[in-house]
């Protein structure tokens, strides 16, 4: 039988020691009895048998912040009525015992509950909270990192072991409910909760403040226009490329400068990796299984970067896609590796556009037209060449659009003595390298180097395959 009243104390608290003489009185005279929970020493108080709450389960469940706390309502639903600290008049009124604490000081504030010790909230939540995910207990001698490898949870690199404490911290990076279903993860089309996503974000090495960006990336991947299922299954190189615009990129400390497409920045590295791990672990998209890539590309570990938005006259990718500068946006592109465009000689936009055009023609194959999209990555030095002559981003796009077309005869199968190319049926037509809206332009990179680059797209672009998808970042964490 549960007592109608519960008292939470700790021996280490002078106020609890002060009211020790009161406790047997309460136990005897309170209607329905009293359960005493002690947070530090089960031998306290003397003369009354206390319940050992050193694990703090009762204190955590009842959100005890101060000791002593006297609750009415029994063990499980004691949260409603309570008095905290020692205020004799209040305790007398609460208990209906008119002479309670006669001879004691009339008032003394309580002490902090052990549940409020630094780091304790997460430890307790991890210990006592109900997770949707199965808990896996490792043997004492088992190495955590090796255990993750052995269970097939990694991309080949070590992952951060997803302990309950870490997952709780990750979930705190978002205001979304852990049980919310974010969507069905391809290829197995498994309903996925925010909690499962948080587990994989932990493993990828994300900080909790990146979690809203990871969430937005996953939402974009689940948009049917992105065609994540087909992208995963294809023999082609491509995989999700994650581009982040807006204040959230800066807040996460993302790199859009020197070596922006390379290693060394935690946010860039782990946000892209979280998406890949989710597809692997929840979606079941395992290389050699349903991932049938002939060669793949190194970006399948992670491929994520922010755009350099330091030039107010250069519209960002997100702005091209209908968002405002102040919006935080994640865009996903089905892309492959990186192709360099070296041009150290052009000092006019026309000349530079000529270099860009010739290099862009080589995406997938120099004789394939209309097959795939691409991202042109313009470096700061090349941007300077354009700006110096008064060219805007739309001027560049227009120039590329005009130049990236050829008479079909130049690229038909067999032309140049090369069997690969466009079908004979297109003879007589003018062909465009990219479909409308298929060439995206971003700007990033270090300030030294007249090097731009191309991220080629999947050879299944547009409605029959993948289109770029952009998602606003819904929350910015707490």
């Amino acid at each position: 039988m549960t007592a109608r009243h519960a008292l939470v104390v700790k021996k280490d608290c002078p106020t609890c020691a002060l009211i020790a003489p009161v406790i047997p009185v309460l136990a005897e005279r309170l209607d329905g009895g009293l359960a005493v929970y002690v947070q530090d020493d089960p031998a306290f108080p003397e003369n009354v048998a206390a319940i050992d709450d050193r694990e703090l389960a009762f204190s955590w469940r009842n959100e005890i912040e101060v000791v002593p706390t006297l609750l009415r309502g029994g063990e499980d639903d004691a949260g409603n009525a309570r008095v905290i600290g020692w205020d004799r008049a209040q305790w007398r009124e609460f208990t209906g015992i008119a002479d309670l604490g006669e001879g004691l000081a009339p008032f003394r504030p309580g002490c902090g509950s052990r549940t409020l010790e630094p780091g304790m909230a997460e430890r307790l939540a991890a210990r006592h909270a109900a997770f949707g995910a199965r808990r896996i207990e490792l043997a004492v001698a088992e190495d955590e990192l090796e255990a993750c490898f052995e269970r097939g949870w990694t991309d080949g690199l070590p992952v951060v072991p997803p302990t309950p404490e870490r997952v709780i911290r990750m979930l705190a990076g978002s205001e979304r409910d852990a049980g919310e279903i974010i969507g069905e993860i391809p290829p197995d089309r498994v309903p996925c909760t925010i909690e499962k996503l948080a587990i994989n974000a932990v493993m990828a090495g994300c900080k909790p403040e990146y979690f809203p960006l990871v969430t937005a990336a996953v939402e974009a991947a689940l948009d049917d226009r992105f065609c994540m299922h087909g992208l995963l299954c294809t023999t082609y190189f491509s995989s999700p490329v994650v581009i982040v615009n807006g204040p959230a990129a800066q807040r996460a400390g993302m790199n859009s400068g020197v070596n922006a497409l390379g290693q060394g920045n935690r946010a860039n590295a782990t946000i892209g990796r979280a998406l890949q791990l989710l597809i692997r672990n929840v979606g079941g998209g395992v290389p050699g299984g349903i991932d049938r890539a002939t060669l793949g590309n190194p970006g399948k570990y992670t491929y994520c970067f922010a755009e350099d938005e330091s030039d107010p006259d250069w519209p960002s990718l997100a702005m091209d896609r209908g968002f405002k500068r102040e919006d935080s946006v994640v865009s996903l592109f089905a892309g492959e590796g990186l192709q360099a465009i070296v041009d150290q000689q052009s000092r006019t936009p026309e000349s530079l556009a000529g270099s860009f055009t010739a290099s862009l023609r080589a995406v997938a194959h120099y004789k394939w037209f209309g097959a795939c999209d691409a991202i042109l990555v313009v470096s700061p030095e090349h941007r300077r060449v354009l700006r110096g002559a008064g060219w805007s981003k739309s001027d560049l796009r227009r120039a590329l659009h005009e130049r990236l077309r050829v008479p079909a005869e130049a690229v038909l199968r067999g032309a140049d003595g090369v069997a690969e190319g466009m079908p004979e049926a297109l003879r007589g037509k003018t062909l465009r390298k990219f479909r409308d809206g298929g060439l995206h332009v971003v700007s990033l990179g270090g300030t030294a180097g007249m090097f731009s680059a191309i991220i080629g797209g999947w050879v299944a672009a547009g409605e029959r395959g993948s289109q770029m998808v952009s998602r606003a970042v819904r929350d910015h964490g707490t």
């Binding site: 207990e137 993750c148 072991p161 299922h229 029959r464």
Partner: protein, 93 residues
């Protein structure tokens, strides 16, 4: 020393072992669907399959997916299931 507890990052699914549908005892008189997934040269491949099936006395119905990049629409799968005794899916390329 306490053991470490980890949260399972996977879908926690146990794959269902599906029973094979009954095999056709003979092709003669059966209706066989040929599904083109819309990859290059799928049509040529299925033309060959169709002529072999016709020689064996099967009736053939041809279908195609809107695009190879996505799974077949449910309506198409149901249509094939309703109209055919068996189906051959052509990956081609």
């Amino acid at each position: 020393m306490t053991s470490t507890s980890l949260l399972d990052p996977t879908a926690e699914l146990r794959p269902v072992a599906r029973q094979l549908t009954p095999r056709l005892e003979r092709l003669a008189g059966a209706t066989v669907g040929l599904l083109d997934i819309s990859k290059p040269r799928g049509r040529e491949f299925l033309d060959e399959v169709e002529s072999l099936l016709a020689e064996a006395g099967a009736a053939v119905k041809r279908y195609s997916k809107p695009t190879f990049t996505r799974v077949a629409p449910i309506a198409l799968m149901q249509q094939i299931g309703a109209e055919c005794d068996a189906v051959v899916e052509a990956l081609a390329d």
